[in-house]
């Protein structure tokens, strides 16, 4: 619409295609091809092999994948629970009351601090009494929970602000108890945003590296950490194969999570 000349439009499209290829296409395509490459010394990879992907699904790397999956699911569940809870509290108070301002400030804060510092903090605070968590699975889950809590909170609280405040009020005026209004009206209305928050949290947790690399015990190594050690050793094709598996599993989990959203009727 902005450009009517065909040549100008084609020039813009050519630039756009180049930019997108560099941004999105090249990393995905290269990772995909490298995962199946025996060697890559020409323009295209040669000696196609399934060894790297097979290796990514063998004992050690497979257990890394399971560790990542369990950590991400636990951490996301906790983050979505706490984030939804806080968002509901904040929206039950007037918009510029102390409650909603404090919760807005506090629950956005962990996202503003580098993940490395979140990890260092947990390591410093919980390597000594009263609470010893260093070397446990819990510290990895806590680190990831904190990092995605802000995203969960802001996704759900944005939805509470857009929600029609008269619907729960109508239910209450008809005599429904607070609990009943919460369970049968407010939460179902927020379900799409809760599901979206869960998906985002899982995706972020699956790829989390900064805090995890600070706190993980040797017995609980997530897949991104494994991929980093492979890259560091120069085993780039194995790293690519593991990354591909990580992305495939993440996309599958996200698709499963999105199914929950499909059951609510949103008008």
């Amino acid at each position: 619409m902005l450009l009517h000349a065909k040549s100008a439009r084609f020039t813009i499209w050519a630039f756009l295609a180049a930019a997108l290829l560099l941004l999105v296409g090249a990393p995905l395509l290269v990772t995909f091809m490298a995962a199946f490459a025996g060697s890559w010394n020409g323009v295209l990879p040669s000696n196609p092999t399934l060894d790297h992907v097979g290796g990514a699904l063998a004992t050690d790397n497979l257990s890394s994948l399971m560790v990542s999956l369990q950590t991400a699911l636990f951490a996301s569940l906790l983050a979505v629970l706490l984030g939804t809870w806080a968002a509901l509290c904040a929206c039950s108070s007037p918009a510029n009351s102390a409650v909603s301002r404090v919760s807005d400030a506090v629950f956005h804060l962990p996202a503003a601090v580098p993940s490395v510092v979140v990890g260092l903090g947990l390591l410093t605070a919980f390597s000594k009494p009263p609470l010893l968590l260093n070397g446990t699975v819990a510290i990895v889950i806590l680190a990831q929970t904190l990092l995605v809590l802000a995203f969960a909170y802001s996704t759900v609280s944005a939805a509470t602000r857009d929600a029609d405040p008269l619907i729960p009020l109508a239910a209450a005026s008809l005599g429904a108890s607070r609990l009943r209004v919460l369970v049968t009206i407010r939460l179902p209305l927020l379900l799409p945003s809760i599901v979206a928050a869960a998906g985002l949290a899982v995706a972020l947790c699956m790829g989390e590296l900064g805090a995890t690399v600070m706190v993980y015990p040797a017995s609980w190594r997530t897949l991104p950490v494994t991929i980093f050690t492979l890259t560091d050793r120069g085993a780039l094709f194995d790293a690519a194969a593991n990354t591909l598996v990580l992305i495939a599993v993440t996309v599958t989990v996200l698709a499963v999570i999105a199914k929950f959203r499909g059951k609510t009727a949103v008008r």
């Binding site: 619409m1 902005l2 450009l3 439009r9 630039f15 756009l16 930019a19 560099l22 999105v24 990393p27 995905l28 990772t31 490298a34 890559w40 010394n41 020409g42 323009v43 706490l82 984030g83 809870w85 806080a86 039950s92 007037p94 009351s97 409650v99 506090v106 629950f107 804060l109 962990p110 503003a112 601090v113 580098p114 490395v116 510092v117 260092l120 903090g121 410093t124 605070a125 929970t145 904190l146 729960p168 009020l169 005026s173 005599g175 998906g199 995706a203 972020l204 790829g207 590296l209 900064g210 690399v213 600070m214 991104p224 991929i227 890259t231 780039l236 990354t243 990580l246 992305i247 993440t250």
Partner: protein, 300 residues
């Protein structure tokens, strides 16, 4: 709110949501608040405390701070962090504005698919990009081996584990963070406005400058602030490029604590980084609040 209102869900016609007393709201908020206090605020305070102790845990006053602030490594790291974040943000803003403009105003079949693709990529791990860069452009990467076989003697590409490689990877990863809010704003601009401007003789560039971009200023400022904050805190991308001479503050914190186990030093640097990040964050909140307020006022 008085206590009677609590028990009578009387039809209040003002704002319906304030039917709970403040102390009750605080009580409910206490559960998630305690979680953040215990596992985020308390650890940050512990880092602060650690910065005044030596390796054996004995108090040393301001010794660590004096040493680290005077050390060239830390000073360089602050500069590198801001420089990398600034260049990446600028790159992402330019590229993101172009991509969003092209997708919204020079539409083509498949633009919707591309938009969805960009939204998906945001949820991929950030290290995908530096990994692909290493495979493609690394010292023993594809491009170098092709160049070597075609034209032996040409000096090999070697930018991936240096500043340009890090900046390019960050631009590639953070551009979608600029594209998404811009697409949302652009979709609100009435098409008639552009047609009218064009019929009055404005060139496409003038329309972009005088009609489209002014409407996008709050979104652009917010995206710039967020991207700067995130690139300043970025760790995974830099770690994966293996750039030894791109020592940003997060990299320095990692190296001091996990590689050399110098926790007092890491604590001081972490305090510096938190101070810097929170300043940028507060500035970002202030600017977005101010700009969105001004925008609403102008609209009315």
């Amino acid at each position: 709110m008085s206590a009677e209102v609590l028990h009578k869900p009387a039809p209040e016609y003002e704002l319906p949501v304030r039917n709970s007393s403040p102390w009750r709201a605080w009580l409910w908020l206490a559960v998630p608040l305690l979680f953040v206090a215990a596992f985020f605020i308390y650890p940050l305070l512990q880092i602060g405390a650690q910065s005044f102790l030596d390796k054996s845990g004995a108090p040393v006053g301001l010794e660590n701070w004096r040493y680290e602030i005077a050390s060239p490594a830390v000073q360089t790291a602050v500069g590198t962090t801001v420089k990398i974040a600034g260049m990446s943000t600028l790159g992402a803003l330019i590229l993101g504005t172009f991509v969003a403009l092209a997708l919204s105003f020079v539409p083509f079949r498949g633009a919707g698919f591309i938009t969805r693709l960009i939204e998906t990529v945001v949820s991929f791990p950030s290290f995908l990009i530096p990994l692909a860069f290493s495979i493609l452009y690394g010292r023993t990467g594809v491009v170098n081996s092709v160049v070597e076989s075609l034209a032996p003697g040409v000096p090999p590409l070697n930018f991936v584990n240096d500043v340009p490689g890090v900046v390019l990877a960050e631009v590639a990863f953070y551009t979608p963070f600029v594209v998404r809010p811009l697409l949302a704003v652009f979709s609100l601009i009435p098409r008639e406005l552009i047609d009218v401007a064009a019929s009055l003789g404005s060139s496409p560039l003038a329309i972009v400058r005088t009609v489209i971009l002014p409407a996008a200023v709050p979104a652009l400022a917010a995206a710039a602030g967020l991207t700067f904050l995130l690139t300043m805190n970025e760790f995974g991308i830099i770690l994966f490029t293996g750039a030894k001479n791109v020592m940003t503050l997060p990299m320095l914190i990692y190296t001091r604590s996990i590689v050399t186990f110098d926790f007092p030093s890491a604590a001081v640097i972490a305090c510096l980084q938190v101070g810097l990040s929170l300043s940028v964050y507060c500035l970002y909140r202030w600017i977005t609040k101010k700009l969105s307020g001004a925008h609403h006022a102008a609209a009315r």
